[in-house]
C-alpha cells in the first residue's frame, strides 16, 4: 500500500461518516473511509427466515457483547443500568435502528439559557435546519407536514401507515387532549432514489431485507462510492497518530487478516459514535497528548448521555395486527417534551409507539408470568397474541461528568485493542422523568382501551443513543471540539458523531448527527484554504 497521504480519512461508515463521505465526494479530494465491519447482505436478514424472531435475540441482537461477531468490540457496561447497543458494519447502527427520525427542538440547543442547567450548544436549530432538510431528502424521510410540536418542516414522503394499532393508540391521546403526530421515519413509503417501498415487514430493527429503511449502506454510501470515495471494510483503527507539528498525520489500523497497517492523511474525521470515538481518542496517546488525543480539556469520554428509556405495554381486548408494519414507527407524542415548572423535573420526553410482536415473542414475554403450561396454555396465550401495544418513553439525559467512557484495563477486542468501559448512573432528574412518563403512558394506553398495563423503567438494553463524550463548544477548557466539529487541540482533526452533542434532547439523535455531519462537511468545503488556521 502506498505511503502517500490521502486528503481526507474518515473513520467509521455509519450515519455520520456516510453523510460526510457523500458530501465531500464532490470536491474530488481523495477521500478514504475505514470501517471495522463489512457490507451486510439484506438477503440474510432475519425477516427472510422462518426463525426471524429468534434471530433478533442472537446474531442480530442489540448488544455487541451477546452477538459475538468479530466485527464488534466488547463493551464493559457492568457499571451501568443501561447497556450499550450498537452495530459495526457499513451503515453502522443504522443497519439495526428503528429509523424513527425526529429532529431536536429549537429549545434543545438553549438548555442553559432557558432552564439554567447543562450548557447551550454553540449552534442553533436555524443553523441546522437546511441540513435537516437535505438529510430528509437523502435518507428519504416519511412524515406529515404541519406538526405543531416543531417549526414548519416538509417530509419527503407520505407517512408510515398507522395501521389498526396506531389508530387505536391515537384515540387514547385524543381522548386526553394530548399531542400526537405520525412519526418522522427514515422509511421509503414510496419508491425513493432507487429504494423499494416499505412493505410492512415488521422487524426493522434486525435489518430491512426490502431496502426501504434508510440505513446509510443503501442511502449515502452507493452515491459516495460512485463519486469516488474509497471505502475499506474490515479495517479497525487502533490509534490516530500525530506529527511533530501536533497535527494528526494518519492512523494505524488492522485489516481483515489482522495485519497492522498505516494510512497517512491530511485531514482525519472521526465518526465512531459516542462510545467508539472516546475509546479511539483515549487510545491515541503520545508525548504531546499523554491523556489521549484532543483531550487537553480532560473531557474526552466524560458527560456520556444515553436516553433513559421506559417501556410501557398495554393489552387490549381485540386484535391489533401489531406484527404488521415498521415496529418502531407509527406515531409520536410530545405533550411533555418542553420544560414545565409545574413538574418535579427539568426538560422532558417523547412517547414513541411500538407495534406488537410475533408469535414467538408473545410466548416468551408471557413466560414472565402470564403464560403457563398445561391445559390453560392456549386460553392464556389467546389473551396475549396480537393484543399488545407498547410505547417507549425517551427521556432527555442531562450531561454529568461522572458518566463516562474510559479504557478497560483488561478487556480487549479481537485485535487486542482495549475495550471501552462505561460508568453511568441515572440522575434523580431522569428518575423523576421516567416515573412521570410511566404514569402518563399507562394513562394513555388505558384511555386507548387497554385493560392491563405493565412498565419497565429504566429499560436496560436501551443504550442505543450514545452522546456527549467529545462535546462541542466555544471554550477549549469546557469542550473538545468547536462549533464546526474541529478539535480545539488538533487543527486537522474533526469529530462528527453523537459525541459532540452538548445536550441530548428527548428524541432519537440520528437525524441530528447527520445534519451536523453535513453542516461540518459544508464548512470544510467552503474553507479548504484556511481550514487549519
Amino acid at each position: 500500500m502506498s505511503d502517500e497521504p490521502v486528503d481526507v480519512l474518515i473513520i467509521g461508515a455509519g450515519a455520520a461518516g456516510a453523510a460526510m463521505a457523500w458530501s465531500l465526494a464532490e470536491t474530488r479530494m481523495r477521500v478514504v473511509c475505514l470501517e471495522q465491519g463489512g457490507w451486510m447482505n439484506p438477503a440474510e436478514f432475519p425477516s427472510t427466515r422462518p426463525d426471524w424472531e429468534i434471530q433478533g435475540m442472537g446474531p442480530f441482537g442489540f448488544s455487541p457483547n451477546t452477538r459475538g461477531r468479530r466485527e464488534d468490540y466488547p463493551i464493559n457496561d457492568e457499571n451501568s443500568p443501561i447497556k450499550v447497543s450498537n452495530f459495526n458494519a457499513v451503515g453502522g447502527s443504522t443497519v439495526l435502528y428503528a429509523a424513527h427520525f425526529p429532529r431536536l427542538h429549537p429549545s434543545d440547543f438553549r438548555v442553559r439559557s432557558l432552564d439554567g442547567v447543562a450548557d447551550d450548544w454553540p449552534l442553533d436549530y436555524a443553523t441546522l435546519e437546511p441540513w435537516y432538510d437535505l438529510n430528509a431528502e437523502m435518507m428519504g424521510v416519511a412524515g406529515l407536514e404541519g406538526d405543531p410540536a416543531y417549526p414548519p418542516k416538509k417530509p419527503t414522503l407520505p407517512p408510515v401507515p398507522l395501521g389498526r394499532l396506531g389508530e387505536t393508540l391515537s384515540r387514547g391521546f385524543d381522548s386526553l387532549g394530548w399531542h400526537w403526530w405520525p412519526s418522522d421515519s427514515a422509511i421509503a413509503t414510496r419508491e425513493h432514489s432507487g429504494r423499494a417501498p416499505c412493505i410492512n415487514l415488521g422487524p426493522c430493527v434486525t435489518g430491512c431485507a426490502q431496502g426501504a429503511k434508510g440505513s446509510t449502506d443503501v442511502t449515502y454510501w452507493p452515491l459516495a462510492e460512485r463519486e469516488g470515495v474509497e471505502l475499506r471494510t474490515h479495517c479497525r483503527v487502533r490509534e490516530i497518530t500525530v506529527g511533530a507539528d501536533g497535527m494528526a498525520d494518519g492512523v494505524i489500523y488492522y485489516d481483515e487478516t489482522g495485519n497492522e497497517c498505516r494510512q497517512r492523511a491530511e485531514i482525519v474525521i472521526i465518526a465512531c459514535n459516542g462510545i467508539g470515538t472516546p475509546r479511539l481518542l483515549l487510545n491515541s496517546t503520545s508525548s504531546a497528548f499523554p491523556d489521549g488525543l484532543a483531550n487537553r480539556s480532560g473531557l474526552v469520554g466524560k458527560n456520556l448521555m444515553f436516553h433513559p428509556y421506559a417501556h410501557v405495554t398495554g393489552w387490549f381486548p381485540d386484535s391489533l395486527e401489531g406484527y404488521k408494519g415498521p415496529m418502531g414507527c407509527s406515531l409520536i407524542c410530545q405533550e411533555f417534551y418542553e420544560t414545565d415548572s409545574e413538574r418535579d423535573f427539568l426538560r422532558g420526553y417523547s412517547f414513541e409507539m411500538l407495534r406488537g410482536v410475533g408469535p414467538v415473542q408473545t410466548a416468551l414475554q408471557g413466560l414472565s408470568g402470564q403464560l403457563g403450561w398445561g391445559p390453560d396454555h392456549h386460553a392464556q396465550y389467546a389473551t396475549l397474541w396480537d393484543k399488545s401495544a407498547g410505547m417507549v418513553i425517551i427521556c432527555e439525559d442531562l450531561p454529568e461528568e461522572h458518566n463516562r467512557v474510559t479504557l478497560d484495563p483488561h478487556l480487549t477486542d479481537a485485535d487486542g485493542i482495549p475495550a471501552p468501559k462505561i460508568d453511568y448512573t441515572l440522575s434523580e432528574n431522569s428518575r423523576r422523568m421516567l416515573d412521570h412518563g410511566v404514569e402518563r403512558g399507562k394513562e394513555a394506553l388505558t384511555a386507548a382501551g387497554a385493560t392491563r398495563t405493565q412498565a419497565i423503567a429504566p429499560l436496560p438494553p436501551a443504550g442505543w443513543h450514545l452522546m456527549g463524550t467529545a462535546r462541542m463548544g466555544t471554550d477549549p477548557e469546557r469542550s473538545v471540539v468547536g462549533p464546526h466539529g474541529r478539535s480545539h487541540d488538533v487543527k486537522n482533526l474533526f469529530i462528527i458523531d453523537g459525541s459532540v452533542f452538548v445536550t441530548s434532547g428527548g428524541v432519537n439523535p440520528t437525524n441530528t448527527i447527520q445534519a451536523i455531519s453535513l453542516y461540518v462537511a459544508d464548512h470544510i468545503k467552503k474553507n479548504l484554504t484556511t481550514l487549519f488556521d
Partner: protein, 137 residues
C-alpha cells in the same frame, strides 16, 4: 427417549380444546428441543428419569399433568429449561402460525398490507397552534 419427551411436550402444550392448535409433541419437536437444551443435559436427564419412574407413558392426560407438576415441584429447573425452547419451536412451526391466522411464511418478501389509519383527528392537534418553545427567552 424422544417418545417420552414428545409426551412431555404434549403435556406442556396440549392440543387446544377446539382442536385448532396442535399439541407440541405431535409436531415432532423433540429433536429441536433436545438440541436446544444440550447444555442442560443433566437437568433434562434427571427430569426424564423422574418421568419414567412415574410411568409417565402409561398415564392418561390428567395423570401426566399431575406427574409433571410433581416433577416441577421437585425439580423446577426441568420444566423451566424445557418450556422456553418448546415455545420457540412451537410458535414458529408453520402449522401453529397458520392456526393463529397468519400466513406460515417469513415476513419477506411478501410483506403485509397495513391500514393507513384515520388522520382526521389531527385537526384538533393542529388547532392548538405551535407547541414548541422559542429558543430565546
Amino acid at each position: 427417549m424422544n417418545a417420552l419427551l414428545d409426551m412431555i411436550l404434549d403435556t406442556l402444550i396440549p392440543e387446544s380444546p377446539d382442536g385448532r392448535m396442535p399439541a407440541a409433541g405431535s409436531l415432532g419437536l423433540a429433536d429441536t428441543v433436545r438440541a436446544e437444551v444440550a447444555s442442560a443435559r443433566d437437568i433434562v436427564g434427571a427430569g426424564l428419569t423422574a418421568a419414567e419412574e412415574r410411568g409417565f407413558a402409561d398415564l392418561d392426560a390428567e395423570g401426566r399433568i399431575a406427574a409433571l407438576r410433581e416433577i416441577e415441584a421437585d425439580q423446577p429447573a426441568f420444566v423451566q429449561t424445557l418450556l422456553f425452547p418448546t415455545c420457540v419451536a412451537y410458535y414458529q412451526h408453520p402449522d401453529v402460525i397458520a392456526a393463529l391466522g397468519m400466513d406460515p411464511r417469513p415476513p419477506h418478501p411478501k410483506g403485509y398490507e397495513l391500514e393507513e389509519g384515520n388522520l382526521d383527528a389531527l385537526e384538533r392537534v393542529r388547532a392548538r397552534g405551535p407547541l414548541y418553545r422559542s429558543d430565546s427567552r
